[in-house]
Symmetry: C2
Subunit: 192 residues, 2 copies
DNA sequence: CCAAGACGGAACTGATCGGTACCATCGAGA
DNA sequence: TCTCGATGGTACCGATCAGTTCCGTCTTGG
């Protein structure tokens, strides 16, 4: 492998898919922006759909690693630690390149819920919920799974809102709701 | 107009765009499913983009009329009336044809935030927020606009979550959060 | 009754789509 | 040094894209 064509293809595809959408980006664009030849593309991937799936898998790993990092460096107390999600989202929303959630976008673009891409995207969200669930369980929350799903719903709502508004404000609003949610939730240690 | 070709075009386009996505549906599909000739299409619309915009305008009107109806028939008290949004969403999510929010989907598919379609979609959300804002103001809530934006964020979060899960459960979860939100919010009459 | 306009069907354009086949080149290991 | 695998470039495929043009038909209002 002279210059790792596969890696260049995946990173170019990931960027283009996120910036412009999966359907909007043709093979030609991926080739020209990555500098990879047409034949090399099909030596590494059977079809465009396989690139989409692999891009999503990569992004899933990167995204959750990023979330883990945000949680690790957060100075919040154990019972407030799940709010680190919204702290992180606020930063993401402020980025000029922000264009929503790649996984939500994929599920929207890929109408067929049985498609591999849709599955990978849906699984990503469940994995994020699992992270929140663990955090909430460790924080001593009684109904931690239901709470995790509510926080994830808030996060997704913030993402699509930020996509529309183009400002990080939605993260602050969602975090405000999340704070109330955690404050009114029952905890194992100190009952309400 | 023999059989109102324009109306048939718009209703076919609206259904197809929602079911399969805007980019995924070609002019050919719209023509064959509406039974309208190719020439007639371009007699009524300069381009496909114009159909997209007009479909969104129609849907915006229909959707808000539907919301107004749900609010009108709701038996909830004035301070709980905004929850009628989530009551309505629960019904929508249960429909087999449910495939998320046409406006969110449009903003995701149409990457360019300056495109006419994106604008119409964004404006729709602001109009819905205005409805919630009025409801909350009439319900006596102090910070009604911020509250309206939080409820709208919850609604959008529920929509994308329901799109992923394929069940109406997300509406119930979001409504649970909304109930807590309203209960802890300050009101003009009875301060907390 | 007849003319004007709205209509459906089909042929056609140039561009682009995803995907295949072939070829020359380059680089590293034997 | 030679060879083999990975690579980039290009020509090509059938299908489909949005959009244009022309024609025959049907409806309707004057």
């Amino acid at each position: 492998m002279a210059t790792n064509a596969k890696e260049r293809l995946l990173s170019a595809a990931e960027r283009l898919f996120y910036e412009e959408g999966i359907r909007a980006v043709g093979i030609e664009r991926i080739l020209s922006e990555s500098g990879v030849g047409r034949a090399s593309f099909y030596r590494h991937f059977p079809s465009k759909d396989d690139v989409v799936v692999e891009v999503l898998r990569r992004r899933d790993g990167m995204w959750r690693a990023w979330l883990d990092g945000r949680i690790a460096v957060s100075e919040r107390s154990p019972e407030e630690l799940p709010l680190a999600l919204f702290d992180g989202l606020a930063e993401r929303f402020a980025a000029a390149s922000f264009r929503g959630c790649a996984f939500i976008n994929t599920m929207v673009e890929t109408a067929d819920p049985d498609s591999p891409a849709h599955h990978v995207a849906a699984e990503h969200k469940e994995k994020v919920i699992a992270v929140l669930d663990r955090l909430l369980a460790e924080g001593g929350y009684r109904d931690h799974e239901a709470l995790a799903r509510q926080l994830a719903l808030l996060g997704d709502g913030a993402i699509v809102t930020a996509l529309r508004e183009g400002t990080p404000e939605a993260a602050v609003r969602a975090r405000g709701v999340a704070e109330i949610l955690l404050r009114t939730a029952e905890r194992e240690t100190a009952r309400v």
